[in-house]
Amino acid sequence: MGAAASLANSTAASAAAAERKPARFALARRTILTPVLLSLLLLAIALITVMTGSRPFNQTVIDVFVRVILVVGLYIFIGNSGVLSFGHIGFTCLGAYAAAWLTINPMMKRGSLPGLPEWLLATRLPYWQSAVLAALFAALAALIFGRVLMRLSGIAASIATFAMLAMINTVYSNWESVTGATSSVVGIPIVRTIWPYLIGAVVAVFIAWAHAISRSGLALRAARDEPTAAAASGVDIPRERLVAFVVSGAIMGLGGALMAHSIGVVTPDTFYLGLTFITLSMLVVGGMGSLSGGVVGVVLLSALIQGLRWLEAGVSLGESTFALPKGFRK
């Protein structure tokens, strides 16, 4: 993970370096190793899984890949801006439901979600198209919410994102005709092969990397480390935050869509506090400031949880979080 360190170091050289294009190419060359290595790691995991041929294990690894996408999405905003967001799982919820709207058999949709607009009721797309649209939908929502919320910073911003999550959850839990309220939305085609999830995770990793070395990403990290200096040198912090918020929102939406396809049912309460804190823990354990930290955090923690489950530790989640504090102290 040496490349990760170099990526982090490059932050220091941030704003000035961002001004010159050739320097950016050099930066890309220097840091490309990180996403490539991470992708290879994920590919290796996928290959091992396919070789074992166990269906439950395959499902477990699909879960891990979905979490990788979610944590990478969180990293894009939290890692780069330093603002803790409790709201991102809201975008996952939006993505998952968007995927449901787009892929369910129109016959079933008419019965269970009659409030959808006519064109949506008639639409039925393959899952990968719906995943892309779900990501765009989540990004749009992130743009709208972000326009308002990115004016805030620090703990007020964190709370406001939480309020956003609660709003999304309340609306989706009660809008009977469009989201089916608290009851499960069913009929989402289930995708049980591992490759789409692998591709999703790899795409997320590369987008995170591209954002991190983009001018906006560099400026945002500079602002995170030296807010006053960055503001003085003309960095428009709310704007750069908004960019990260929208990009991460899109990734969270993608993760939500794939999550929907991995289980086949969606309910609003899947996308609430539990998932929020599990993904946040994974990001923090890996190290909030680095992409590879996030991905490795997910893989390690998932392996730990799975290990404990195999040991039949009984209180699965309780036990796994017990192990957290050791990893917490950076």
């Binding site: 395959n58 499902q59 477990t60 309220a181 009851s183 069913v186 086949g264 049912v265 009984g314 699965s316």
Partner: protein, 397 residues
């Protein structure tokens, strides 16, 4: 190297092919993809115990199609993603019947996995119309009765037997189950209104609300206390709502779904009176059917405790109807068994008749016992079967 490798590979392959075939020969496998830990465990386990009682009875009587029933289990950890894995896991172990969690939301991932593999799945006690064809597919069934039937039963019974005229509807928006009860009530109400009943008001609350004082104030501001309040909710919020209703001095009849059955919580509302619950069988030792009393005794012997609520019973019913269908089909082949199940009309079981049709793998009309709680003591006071089945469009609302 190639020669030896090929032998090993062939041996391995033949073994893996041979394994399910062997399982088919000597035993029939029922796979439980249910919660053995976490939140759902408290709901799945009792019904699963009841299912085990029926399985033991069948095995003791010589088995099914002359084969012993073998049980395999995988824990869903009360988690949806884990539920899908548990479903796949019992399928890998050769399950002919996949039993899934009590609740539709938690059981459906495993049921969908079974549907994919073309096996029959049975929800232990889900009461949503989705637990079956509508939400999983043509091989999926539920062993319990639709929530809507409970709401409709209570409304009709209260009107016809207790002379209730003014109804009030209080819905907890937390779950689909709660809404299901009120959907049944809403379907029944216009029929009763034509005969002189009246809906005097309605309101909603949330299960986790610390206080429903505002909702109670709305009831109290009515010109006259309603005769009956249809309370569409479930634990734990139900106790809180009932307690607050009574503490505010509202003495109307309270009509409920089966979710509040059980005496374990009655201590919270001392001397509760005028309180009615529909149940499939009585756990209070006064069931009109002596076979139910015998079952309760067996259950106590096996688990060391009396059934805590009527949700124990569907587990028994599930194995009962499935085994009958297998006997009649003469095979465990999913499609043949489904066809037999769909032929069942008012099939008698220990806990009331059961009907399955190619449209609905669930009960939309069945006999319910009515349990009244009087001065803190619950007991059966009658039974009721709604005058017509709840139609599909009311269920899919």
């Amino acid at each position: 190297m190639t020669y030896k490798m090929r032998i090993v590979a062939t041996a391995l392959a033949s073994m893996s092919f041979a394994y399910p075939a062997m399982a088919d020969d000597k035993t029939i496998v029922i796979g439980f993809a249910t919660a053995e830990s976490g939140f759902m465990e408290a709901y799945d386990k009792p019904a699963q115990e009841a299912a085990m009682i029926r399985i033991d009875e069948i095995n003791a009587a010589g088995g099914l199609l002359g084969k012993q029933i073998k049980v395999v289990k995988a824990d869903t950890k009360s988690d949806r993603a884990e539920g899908a894995k548990a479903g796949l896991s019992v399928l890998d172990q050769g399950a002919d019947l996949v039993v899934v969690s009590c609740d539709y939301d938690f059981g459906s991932p495993a049921a969908l996995a079974a549907e994919d593999a073309g096996r029959i799945s049975f929800f232990l006690c889900a009461e949503s119309v989705k637990a079956g064809i509508q939400g999983v597919g043509p091989h999926s069934f539920s062993a319990s009765v639709l929530a809507a039937v409970q709401g409709a039963t209570m409304a009709e019974w209260a009107f016809k037997e207790k002379g209730a005229k003014d109804f009030y509807r209080l819905l907890d928006t937390w779950t689909a189950y709660n809404k299901g009860i009120c959907d049944g009530f809403d379907w029944m109400m216009p029929k009763l209104e034509a005969q002189g009943a009246k809906l005097v008001g309605d309101d909603t609350f949330k299960n986790e609300d610390a206080s429903i004082a505002a909702q109670i104030t709305r009831i109290k501001s009515l010109p006259k206390e309603p005769d009956a309040i249809m309370l569409c909710t479930m634990m734990p919020g139900a106790v809180s709502a009932i307690k607050q209703l009574r503490a505010a001095g509202i003495n109307s009849m309270i009509l409920n779904g089966s979710g509040v059955d059980g005496s374990y919580w009655l201590s919270a509302v001392p001397d509760l009176t005028n309180f009615y619950v529909p149940v499939q069988g009585s756990i209070y030792g006064d069931d009109p059917n002596p076979a139910v009393l015998k079952f309760n005794a067996t259950y106590k012997e096996k688990t060391g405790a009396d059934p805590s609520s009527q949700y124990v019973f569907p587990g028994y019913v599930m194995v009962e109807v499935w085994a009958k269908a297998v006997e009649r089909a003469g095979t465990t082949d999913a499609d043949a068994v489904v066809a037999e199940l769909e032929k069942m009309k008012d099939e008698p079981t220990l806990f009331g008749p059961r009907t399955f049709t190619p449209e609905l793998h669930h009960q939309n009309q069945t006999r319910y016992l009515i349990v009244e709680t009087k001065a803190g003591k619950p007991g059966v006071v009658g039974n009721w079967t709604i005058s017509e089945p709840v139609p599909m469009d009311a269920l899919l609302k």
